[in-house]
């Protein structure tokens, strides 16, 4: 990959623990934005960004609609909205039908990110109990981006990354402890 312009991380059941382990080891000067889309219950709104921001020096914030993406910032998808990325590298939110029984759906963010960033995108799919994110990773691959999954053997719920491994050409399968060093390498 020439130069990574964005990293999207998707996860469901069992992914929070992974994030809490990865974030403290991320470089304090990442050269791209990190977008986190995790399934969570509607209503628990601002808790997740607060929880994550205690684990890193990087700025962590819940996405505001129409907000431009800024390098070195960690964005968390708000609960109960799909999170889309626009061609002008701003976020938009969408309250349309659930996809894979999920809103936010990881597929939606992966797919719209792929259309914007093409081969300068990396997407990582973590632990989870449904197949959300698998179609999205396919699109990412079609556009030449890097596809990453959590090693299913290290996942609390292996189904999601295992489904991705089954249906998508995955570039790298990462153990939890290898994720932060890998992400730091993507940065300049």
């Amino acid at each position: 990959m020439e130069k990574c312009k964005a990293l999207v991380i998707g996860g469901s059941a069992g992914s929070l623990d992974v994030l809490l382990k990865v974030l403290p080891n991320l470089s304090n000067s990442l050269s791209f934005p990190v977008i986190i889309v995790v399934h969570r219950k509607h209503g628990a709104d601002s808790l997740l960004p607060d929880l994550l921001s205690g684990k890193t020096k990087l700025v962590v914030k819940e996405v505001d609609e129409k907000e431009p993406l800024v390098a070195g910032t960690i964005y968390v998808a708000p609960s109960d909205y799909h999170l889309l990325i626009e061609q002008d590298q701003t976020f938009s939110l969408d309250y349309s039908e659930k996809v894979n029984y999920s809103r936010p759906a990881i597929d939606v963010t992966f797919q719209t990110a792929a259309e914007v960033y093409g081969d300068k995108l990396a997407c990582l799919l973590l632990s989870g109990s449904n197949a959300d994110g698998v179609n999205g990773l396919k699109t990412v691959k079609d556009y030449g981006g890097i596809t990453l999954i959590q090693d299913p053997l290290t996942a609390q719920v292996a189904y999601m990354p295992a489904q991705a491994a089954l249906h998508v050409d995955i570039d790298y399968t990462l153990k939890i402890e290898d994720m932060a060093p890998f992400i730091n390498l993507l940065s300049e």
Binding site: D45, I85, S92, V108, D142, G144
Partner: protein, 275 residues
């Protein structure tokens, strides 16, 4: 690059949107691109369109399909008492204040299939204000308004709606408001006597009355910044002094030109016009 999906390009979406404007007077050019492109692509695949040219031809020449197109590219997902905390604030703070007026006019802009209009009606009835209220429920889409006017929602949703209703401060038996008919819940006609369903396009239509409360939740997220500003000006013109404007959880008046005239209520996305 080999793609599985039949890809519609940004340019092709632009072509369809300018067709809609030219042939039907519907202006979607100020909508957020990623969302509308996803909706168009979804419909394209759902209806198994053979080619972009055929898809485009059908939208221009087939009135029935055009209606379907507009219905499908706009988002019509809604719930009763969605975000119960919001409805609790309406019930406990906003509506009692408006209840001191001789008459309450409410505009529900982008009402979709009517779930919020019926939610409002239920709260007004419980506050004993329904008799002196009028709810104007508008949408650009005539098809969803027809559905809204029937007051029938899926019975399978009622458990969720009943939970929302209780969390929003409702104390009655929620099922007393509807009768079950097969897979549908038909809401009491009394609830819709004070609702006027009508088409109104926020993009192109003007102000049509003065209101004490305007609700427009999860509509502005689909608009670009310029269009958001234009619509907020329309709301500002249509709202009486000391009236309330309510937006969706992720929408805001902050950083807009009308912000200085409004004071936000704590916690909820409700602003009061103060000057």
């Amino acid at each position: 690059m080999l793609l599985d999906l039949p890809v519609i390009s940004e340019e092709q979406v632009e072509i369809l949107l300018s067709d809609l404007l030219e042939h039907y007077g519907y202006d979607f050019t100020g909508y957020s691109k990623a969302s509308i492109k996803r909706r168009v692509l979804r419909l394209y695949m759902l209806d198994k369109a053979v080619s972009f040219a055929e898809f485009r031809f059908k939208i221009i020449n087939d009135q029935v399909y055009f209606k379907r197109f507009v219905e499908q590219i706009t988002v019509n997902v809604t719930e009763m008492f969605r975000d119960p905390g919001f409805f609790k604030t309406l019930r406990n703070e906003v509506l009692p204040k408006l209840g001191t007026y001789p008459f309450i006019r409410i505009w529900l802009a982008g009402c979709s299939t009517g779930e919020e209009a019926f939610s409002m009606s239920i709260i007004l009835k419980e506050l004993n204000l329904l008799h002196k209220s009028l709810i104007y429920a508008t949408d650009l889409n005539p098809t969803v308004l027809e559905k809204a006017a029937q007051g029938m929602f899926s019975l399978s949703q009622m458990k969720q709606y009943s939970e929302n209703y209780i969390l929003s401060g409702g104390t009655k038996d929620f099922s007393s408001y509807y009768t079950a008919k097969y897979s549908l819940a038909k809401f009491d006609d009394e609830l819709k006597h004070k609702i006027i369903f009508s088409t109104h396009n926020l993009v192109s239509d003007h102000s049509f009355n003065e209101f004490q409360l305007i609700l427009c939740r999860n509509v502005l997220i689909y608009f670009d910044r310029d269009l958001q500003q234009k619509v907020l000006n329309l709301f500002d013109e249509s709202l009486e002094d000391l009236g309330y404007l309510a937006l969706g959880t992720k929408e805001t008046l902050d950083f807009t030109s009308v912000a200085k005239r409004y004071k936000r209520l704590p916690l909820e996305k409700i602003w009061r016009k103060v000057s």
